[in-house]
């Protein structure tokens, strides 16, 4: 297994375009819009590529793309700089480490794995926020964001389906 023998998988296709899509949907869901006094949910769209990139194949570029996405979330949402970057990277690392257990499982199981990955990111965010702000975030608010995020699995599934077979060495 080496870089020299890697089959070309254009980074722009499986990393660049999903990044842009995630940024776009994050912008859309951050608009101050209410319908009948109800706000839009705030899912973490970045969890879709974070999970899918780890499942598709190990990559050197993906962690840095996640770092950029995390920094974008922190800057755009106005949170502490680095909070989402660390949380997403921990979730990515965990998914990457348990990748061999996930590959080849059915959709429902993969959805479960996606939920685990999201939970890792949320718990990391929760603990880091406790350290940073010296206060405990509302568990209900964390749960709502977790629920809104795990509903995004179909998009992750689509991304995995599209690029899973692009590099046969990692099937």
């Amino acid at each position: 297994m080496s870089l020299s023998s890697a089959r070309p998988l254009a980074p722009a296709r499986w990393i660049g375009i999903p990044m842009l899509q995630v940024v776009f949907w994050t912008l859309i869901f951050a608009i101050p819009f209410r319908v009948f006094s109800l706000q839009l949910p705030e899912p973490v769209f970045c969890m879709v590529p974070v999970f899918a990139w780890a499942v598709i194949r190990p990559s050197i570029l993906a962690p840095f793309a996640i770092l950029i996405l995390g920094a974008f979330l922190d800057l755009y949402w106005g949170g502490p700089m680095g909070l989402w970057a660390v949380s997403l990277l921990i979730a990515y690392g965990t998914t990457l480490a348990s990748r061999s257990m996930m590959v080849g499982q059915n959709r429902a199981m993969m959805w479960g794995w996606f939920a685990v990955s999201c939970a890792v990111a949320m718990v990391s965010g929760f603990l880091l926020t406790r350290l940073d702000a010296k206060a405990s975030p509302s568990l209900i608010a964390v749960a709502w964001q977790f629920l809104a995020t795990i509903l995004l699995y179909p998009f992750a599934h689509r991304l995995v389906d599209r690029f899973e077979d692009a590099d046969v060495r990692f099937r």
């Binding site: 080496s2 101050p32 996640i66 106005g78 975030p137």
Partner: protein, 387 residues
């Protein structure tokens, strides 16, 4: 020369290990960012150039993205207004009837209040200048609750300025750049706001936790709050003005006292930024207002009275003759106020008039309740001439 043709083309690199190293390096960079973050400080330089540039770029982009949502919201409001016009009309008539009764009460109370202010020489805070802005983004997750609004440095906005909606306090400014400002909402986990319970005057600190209802912490006293109590800013610490509406107290499911925010009752699309920094700013404004007042020159009778006092003082053997500076336009009326209206308070420094009352409309000399009696006998040696 392509990579494969180069001498390094045959170097075998284990990709899985390299990916793991990349993850670790990225995590280290992210932790360094997190440790170096100083978001909550009120200092402009702590906000950072990166955040400023992001806000500057994000504001027009998000404004454009949010425009269809805003238009559709307005359209829905119009549709609602059309279908519920009759019931709305009934409700408004009822409210108007009540409001007219309240107006009469308010006029009477205002008059009483003005008299008390005049009697006590109370210094009331001058009105605070406000800037209108539109909210363009809204982050409402558990770890960050902020908004980006489209007014920045060019309109005088500064970090620390309080932000209000039409219903109540929303938060405060934590970052400012050209054409954009970042508002830290009351619900953010980093938000701490000194508040008071209107009914009991008890103090507390409103602490955000990422949820919709922030907590009331550090409550003191026995039963200082009960459900439905109105919560206002206390002004303690001088960061926020006193008396801004915050919300209503309610007992949370976790047994803690929480606040249903007044600003949450309607969409926070337009906000008002109060250009308030701290209480020294109010004092400076009051001083500026006082300096700008026109004080009437002393009348003939007043000048004669002053001369008489000075002569009497000079006639006392051993008493130091005060420096007979010509009565300036400022000192003379003050003397008259303390001598005539409050003779018992001669030793205390003369009070300034209330800041909200312009001197031109109510000159000090004219508002004296009784004419100043001319001194029939020379004052005792211990008496002080209050100027």
């Amino acid at each position: 020369m392509s990579f494969r043709d180069s001498p390094f083309g045959e170097v075998k690199v284990p990709l899985a290990w390299m990916a793991a190293v990349a993850v670790i390096v990225a995590i280290v960079v992210a932790i360094a960012l997190l440790v170096s973050d100083r978001r909550e400080t009120f200092k402009t330089e702590a906000y950072g150039v990166t955040r400023e540039v992001t806000d500057m770029v994000a504001t027009p982009v998000s404004g454009a993205v949010a425009a269809p949502g805003r238009w559709s919201g307005l359209a829905m409001e119009n549709v609602q207004a059309y279908f519920f016009a009759v019931s709305e009309n009934r409700r408004l008539k009822k409210e108007l009837k009540e409001a007219l009764q309240w107006r009469d009460v308010a006029i009477a109370l205002k008059d009483t209040n003005q008299r008390y202010e005049a009697l006590m020489g109370l210094k009331t805070d001058p009105p605070i200048v406000m800037v209108d802005a539109r909210s363009v983004t809204d982050s409402r997750g558990p770890f960050a609750n902020t908004r980006l609004v489209n007014a920045g440095k060019e309109r005088g906005v500064k970090p620390g300025n309080p932000v209000m909606s039409e219903n109540g306090l929303v938060g405060r400014i934590i970052g400012v750049t050209t054409n954009a400002s970042r508002v830290l909402l009351l619900t953010d986990i980093a938000s701490r706001t000194p508040v008071m319970i209107d009914r009991t005057n008890a103090r507390a600190v409103l602490t955000g936790d990422g949820g919709p209802n922030p907590k009331l912490e550090y409550l003191r006293g026995r039963n200082p709050v009960k459900s439905g109590d109105r919560i206002l800013t206390s002004g303690d610490g001088g960061v926020l003005p006193r008396g801004l509406p915050v919300g209503t107290a309610v007992k949370g499911l976790d047994g803690r006292w929480r606040v249903i925010l007044a600003s949450d009752t309607a969409p926070i699309d337009f906000v008002r930024i109060l250009l308030f920094e701290d209480f020294s700013q109010l004092a400076a404004e009051q001083q500026k207002e006082l300096d700008a007042m026109e004080v009437p020159a002393p009348s003939e009778a007043t000048a004669q009275q002053l001369q008489a006092v000075l002569k009497a003082r000079a006639a006392i053997p051993g008493a130091a003759v005060p420096v007979a500076a010509p009565p300036s336009s400022v000192t003379a009326p003050r003397t008259i106020t303390t001598t005539s209206a409050a003779p018992a308070m001669r030793a205390s420094p003369p009070r300034r008039p209330a800041a909200r009352k312009p001197a031109a409309s109510k000159p000090v000399v004219a508002s004296s309740p009784a004419p100043t009696p001319a001194p029939a006998a020379p004052p005792p040696p211990s008496a002080e001439v209050p100027f």
